[in-house]
Symmetry: C2
Subunit: 121 residues, 2 copies
């Protein structure tokens, strides 16, 4: 992961089409900046050891929590606190940016077929 | 710093007008998400202990490095590696998001009158 050039998020999104598969676009210290396309409903899961930040770039993202829904429009961000079970969903495609420590697994404690290997784009 | 509600970046920018004074809008673990208005030229400085991420939301930001300029348009981000001297500048106002460990001082090793206390908005 080089730091030589600016990262253009639109250019990076153009490099992949799949949903629920975060791509690494930059790293700051030991934190990852990832981008992800979201469509449909994910799986309920928890990250026991870290908070997780979602910044919506396009579309409307609902982060379901057990006691309420958090709805994010473009230009809005939300931090899911560590240990809080959540399940993202989107009726139309969402483009979002994620900030989290390197090595975080997208499905947290849940595992399963939606677990993605994070590749650099 | 609560994590109860979404953070709307436009709403947060509407709460302040000054330049070069980053405002804290969210925290993830021990990292800060800050927003900043940039206009004119800053001061050359270095963060010896941390990388620093700039994501441009509006305007054109030039991050001067000693060997070249990095120009960022909206939707583009750049990570200034730790130890690399840099000096941001903008001919028109820029709105940017910063991601860095909590406690980072905006002027790094340079200090001086542009050193800002980071307030929550």
């Amino acid at each position: 992961m080089t730091h030589d050039a600016p990262v253009d998020l639109a250019d990076k999104f153009a490099l992949f089409a799949e949903h629920w598969s975060p791509k690494l676009v930059a790293r700051i210290n030991d934190y990852d900046i990832k981008i992800v396309r979201i469509l449909g409903e994910f799986v309920w899961h928890t990250h026991e050891d870290t908070d997780e930040l979602f910044l919506v770039l396009e579309g409307t993202l609902t982060i379901q929590l057990r006691d309420r829904d958090v709805v994010l429009e473009p230009g809005q961000l939300f931090v899911v606190p560590r240990g809080v079970e959540h399940c993202p969903k989107a009726e139309g495609e969402v483009k979002a940016l994620l900030f989290e420590p390197e090595g975080v697994v997208n499905t947290g404690d849940a595992g399963g077929e939606l677990t993605a290997t994070v590749e650099e784009v």
